[in-house]
């Protein structure tokens, strides 16, 4: 078998094991599904009240677009937003020393392990969101199969970027004993920049700044593709891909520098 395929296979196995673990405790999905549904309901009411008072469109979005935007933007936040704690715990508990001796890339293994379960959860949430969106706002405004594939690919890129950025933040544990605050700051910026509301709603100066950061690639890009697919959509996907590559490079660099600080005591 081709050696690249063989390499990919072990990460496929890691993803599969993680997926089966998650499926074994299917009840664990209930909590995030209930919270996601609650948020969709509350925000559908907010957008209904907003557009009842201010007219048919704000910054190019109408009520239906805003509800669907929120539904899609929350999928990466709920589905791919929780890698940090497991990764940081591995660093603090010393599990990292155990994993380093294994015949796989530390980053690649964690990516496969994390994404295997997260993809399933994101898929379930997306299905739930589509159902709820249909009830609260009408059918998803998809125009073509290409748009659907672009949204799904964009969600995958958003999930990958979420993982890589959270990985880089978790690796700061090499230098800081308590690094949860960094994750909170990251999480809250991601929430305000493109998740709770489209970037076009922010003041213009803020819009100009955030477009130079990876945050729009985390939730804004897939949500925008879902509600306003057009000629500029390819650019959004390219931007996401570029941020994934850049974040992967940062992860390798941070981990490469940080691993020199590991002192294995045996036992």
């Amino acid at each position: 078998m081709n050696r690249y395929l063989l390499r990919a296979r072990k990460y496929g196995v890691a993803a599969g094991v993680s997926l089966r673990n998650r499926l074994a405790y299917a009840g664990n999905f209930a909590s995030s599904m209930a919270t996601y549904a609650l948020f969709i309901f509350v925000f559908s009411r907010i957008w209904t009240a907003v557009f009842a008072a201010s007219g048919p469109a704000i910054a190019g979005y109408d009520r239906v677009m805003c509800i669907w935007y929120f539904i899609v933007a929350e999928v990466p936040m709920f589905g791919f937003g929780h890698f940090f704690h497991t990764l940081a715990q591995d660093m603090k508990s010393g599990q990292v020393a155990y994993l380093l001796g294994r015949p796989y890339s530390f980053v690649g293994y964690h990516y496969a392990d994390g994404m295997g379960a997260a993809l399933l959860e994101a898929g379930i949430l997306l299905a739930e969101g589509i159902l709820l969106g249909g009830l609260l706002a009408g059918a998803l405004p998809l125009r073509s199969l290409v748009q659907l594939l672009a949204v799904l690919f964009s969600l995958l890129l958003a999930g990958s970027l979420q993982f890589l950025l959270q990985f880089a933040i978790a690796m700061t544990a090499f230098w800081f004993e308590e690094n949860t605050a960094f994750f909170w700051i990251f999480q809250k910026i991601a929430l305000v920049v493109g998740t709770l509301l489209p970037i076009e709603f922010l003041p213009e100066a803020a819009q100009r700044i955030v477009r130079w950061t990876p945050f729009p690639s985390l939730a804004y890009a897939p949500a925008r593709l879902a509600v306003a697919f057009g000629p500029a959509s390819g650019g959004l996907l390219l931007e996401q891909a570029a941020w994934v590559v850049a974040a992967a490079a940062v992860c390798r660099l941070v981990f490469g520098v940080g691993r020199t600080k590991i002192a294995s005591q045996g036992g």
Binding site: L38, R45, A53, P203
Partner: protein, 272 residues
Amino acid sequence: METRKRAFARGLRSYVRFLATSFSVNLQAVIEYRANFAVQFFGMMLNNAAFALFWGALIARTGGIGGYGFPDIMFIWALVSTSFGLAHIVAGNIRNLGLIIQRGELDVYLLQPKNVYLNVLCSRTVVSAWGDFAYGFIVLALLPGFGAERLALFALLSLSGAVIFAATFAAAESLSFFMGNSAGITAAVREFLLSFSLYPETIFDKGMRWVFYTLLPSGFIAFVPLAVYKSLDWRLVPLLGLAALAYLGASYALFKLGLRRYESGNQMGTRI
């Protein structure tokens, strides 16, 4: 009659001393880990501030939502944060009550000469709740018209809100006596009560608003207090206090009813 009054006053003083001691011990325990305390304190304030940015950006575009302006939304965020924080500072075990019941770990509280309900709830504090508590006062100080009278009113409204939060969460957790594992219902009650309290009442259909004054009392935690605060109408404050006592009484009654069904886990336990 006089003797009974004295006994009541003595009992009340003893419980005030007991709560003060619990609070003091809990505080010393969290301050022992200063870095962790600081991270959670400021992290929670940051979490709340992120939503302020959201509302600021949205209301700048729309002028208001369902009749609520930016100061109104910030007031309910301030009040709910401080009430929620106070409930979890003083009665931090409301998060764990269901699990304690489920594991049969109430024995250690049953053997002590204090009310079990109060004892178990107040035996822990939640570190991040201090951030919630402080956030409300900071936001309040930035709101227009802030002064000594509004600060006093806010403090009283927070107190009744905290009692309602604690009573409602404790009631949901007490369902573990009857169901074994009530984690799903408890999580739903927590999320729903908090979420409904943080958004304008008017965005929800009139048909569902009765829920805000019964099962999920967001009305008494946020919406009525907003009207009281805006109009500086102190007459409604005692009524909110009575509502808080009613929820506390109902929560306590449910706990007492459930306690008859309690099964010990026969575990050795200590409180140091």
